[in-house]
């Protein structure tokens, strides 16, 4: 039957190509959205893995994690929680440095916490605890700007001396800069405010239990250990995921209607053929299989086309100024599988009704149609 399916599609090349293109566009939309959202999610969640912490703590339910507002009192409370070995408070901000670096990450951290945070100074020295014009650059940022120890780096509206180059072992952290905590807080006019706490648990203590204690004791705070838990502190991410899921469902429905309509038109043209197949003994399921089989082949072609278009679309999106430096897309297996599932879903849903209609034709009536 496979060869019959191929011959049927080949006989109406233009129409087949049209359906495949429609499926391809829907798949492209879904995959592109998914890759972009995953990329943004990964970039945002990377901030959690900068330090050598067991988990992070943020303010609960803020639109985005960078708006998290934690205080010294909160930090003390976390430090006093049973099972907590240490907790480091950092302030994280972004600055639009220039067109090439619209979202440059700046981390405010006390120099005494650098080691505990997992920061290793590669050259130079750490800044002073309150030095107003000293900065340490991540090695990626230093490489990007072509700066070395002793050079000047313009940020926070002033010129700062690069006193050290550091690494955190995390590309997100290594692409930013670190400032004394009160200096970054002062520049952003949020004295005493912190964005995240990085918590280490005492040896032998179950991390989940400590997390649970903090979550339960301090309802205004939330603990985050994985990228999936990131949504607790960043509702934007939740909305983004919901938007991608909605778009996928919508794309499947719209695509299914397009596929269904086109295949229904094909059904009217091939009424005699289906009547004949029924008359010579084809079972209903076989007729449904023939029509759905045509849909599945179109879905596979459309999905391949869509995935190709998605790769091109994402490559182009990297050059959109608002996304420059933020979007680090990776096409993983799940993106491809979701694209394929979208295409197949559209085709099967779209072809099922025409297939059932074709299978329920009365042979005599169908054969008498012109």
């Amino acid at each position: 039957m496979f060869s019959l399916v191929l011959q049927n599609l080949w006989a109406k090349k233009g129409r087949s190509l049209g359906i495949a293109a429609a499926i391809g566009l829907a798949v492209m939309t879904v995959v592109t959205l998914m890759v972009v959202s995953t990329s943004l999610e990964t970039a945002a969640a990377q901030i959690l893995t900068i330090g050598r912490a067991d988990f992070s703590v943020a303010q609960k339910g803020v639109a985005e994690v960078l708006n998290s507002n934690l205080t010294n009192r909160d930090l003390q409370n976390v430090r006093l929680t049973p099972g907590v070995a240490s907790a480091i408070g950092v302030y994280v901000a972004t600055e639009n440095l220039n067109a090439d670096n619209p979202i440059f990450i700046e981390i405010g951290i006390d120099p005494s916490d650098l080691q505990g945070f997992g920061v290793r100074v590669l050259s130079g020295r750490p800044y002073g605890p309150t030095s107003p014009h000293e900065v340490m650059l991540g090695w990626r940022a230093a490489q990007n700007f072509g700066l070395h120890v002793g050079d000047q780096f313009k940020a926070l509206g002033t010129s700062n001396t690069v006193v050290g180059i550091y690494t955190t072992g995390n590309s997100f952290g290594d692409s930013g800069a670190m400032f004394p905590l009160p200096v970054l807080q002062g520049y952003n006019r949020v004295p005493g405010q912190m964005t995240l706490f990085f918590v280490k648990v005492e040896p032998g203590q179950p991390v989940v239990k400590v997390q649970s204690t903090i979550d339960r004791t301090y309802p205004g705070m939330t603990t985050i250990r994985t990228a999936e838990q990131f949504g607790r502190a960043d509702t934007n991410l939740v909305f983004l995921r919901a938007a991608v899921t909605s778009s996928t469902v919508l794309a499947i429905l719209i695509g299914a209607v397009i596929v269904g309509n086109t295949m229904l038109l094909s059904l009217f043209e091939r009424t005699r053929e289906f009547g004949l197949l029924r008359a010579i003994g084809w079972a209903r399921t076989r007729v449904v299989g023939l029509v759905v089989g045509e849909g599945v082949i179109l879905a596979l072609i459309g999905s391949c086309l869509g995935l190709l278009l998605a790769v091109l679309a994402v490559a182009l999106l990297k050059y959109v100024p608002a996304l420059r430096g933020v979007l680090h897309p990776t096409f993983d297996q799940s993106a491809f599988l979701r694209g394929l599932a979208t295409g197949l879903g559209m085709a099967v849903i779209g072809a099922l009704y025409p297939g059932l209609r074709a299978s329920s034709l009365r042979p005599l009536e169908a054969l008498s149609r012109e």
């Binding site: 019959l4 011959q7 008359a279 010579i280 003994g281 084809w282 079972a283 005599l364």
Partner: protein
């Protein structure tokens, strides 16, 4: 009737051979809530390997009778048995049409995008024949109808008579014991009519296929060894040979 696959296999036992291949009793068919009476208590027996023509004017019910024999429609009342199968109460009419009877229509109804081989093979899809065996059998059948060398051509490259011969090969694809043909020569020229009729005669002779041939053309009907005439939904004349059990007979003198 059992709906198992085995139940539809031709019954070649002595007992099966002793009953007619086709047995119709009190068959009626009405349309439009009784306004149109297409068949009116038809009784008919067709013996194994017999070639029967059914003639009559348009609207006499001959095509309706054939459609009921083919399980393409259901009777209003009466019974039909073909090769022992109760056609009026089939659970799987599609399986019956695939395994017990072969159908030939006035219009060949070949699929234009398939080759001749593909058109014959398509009837075997759903049967237990392996794919390679299907192709071999289709080629063999095309050879039997004299079109073996054209197996890879498409229907549009053939004459009307050749197309109808392919349709006959398709009808024989699953080796049915009964062939039902509805006006098979209705749209053919004289030369093609002759070649198609010769094929029916050959099939009956070589395969002992029971053939029921519906036609409005009395010259075509003459090729059959038994002629049945219908009028207003009744059998009015049956030149039944003595060898066939006379359980039915004409409904109207």
């Amino acid at each position: 009737m059992s709906d198992s696959r085995a139940a539809l296999a031709p019954d070649t036992s002595d007992r099966a051979q002793s009953v007619p291949a086709v047995q119709v009793r009190g068959l009626t068919k009405v349309y439009d809530d009784g306004l149109i009476q297409a068949l009116n208590g038809v009784n008919l027996d067709v013996g194994h390997g017999e070639m029967v023509s059914i003639t009559g004017p348009s609207g006499c019910g001959k095509s309706t009778l054939l459609h009921l024999l083919a399980a393409l429609d259901v009777p209003t009342s009466g019974s039909i048995r073909v090769q022992g199968h109760a056609v009026d109460s089939l659970d799987h009419p599609n399986r019956y049409r695939r395994e017990v009877v072969g159908l030939v229509f006035q219009l060949h109804n070949l699929l234009p995008r398939l080759s001749l081989l593909g058109n014959v093979e398509v009837a075997m899809m759903g049967s237990r024949r392996p794919r390679r065996e299907r192709a071999r059998h289709a080629l063999e059948l095309l050879g039997e109808v004299g079109l073996g060398s054209l197996a890879h051509r498409h229907p549009t490259q053939l004459s009307g008579g050749e197309r109808q011969r392919v349709a006959i090969a398709r009808a024989m694809a699953n080796d049915p014991t009964v062939l039902l043909a509805d006006e098979p020569t209705g749209s053919l020229d004289t030369a093609s009519v002759h070649s198609v009729l010769s094929l029916f005669v050959k099939l009956r002779a070589e395969r002992s296929t029971t053939i029921v041939l519906v036609t409005h053309d009395s010259s075509v009907a003459e090729v059959a060894d038994r002629r049945i005439e219908m009028l207003d939904g009744c059998v009015v004349k049956d030149n039944q040979p003595a060898s066939v059990p006379r359980s039915g007979g004409p409904d109207r003198p």
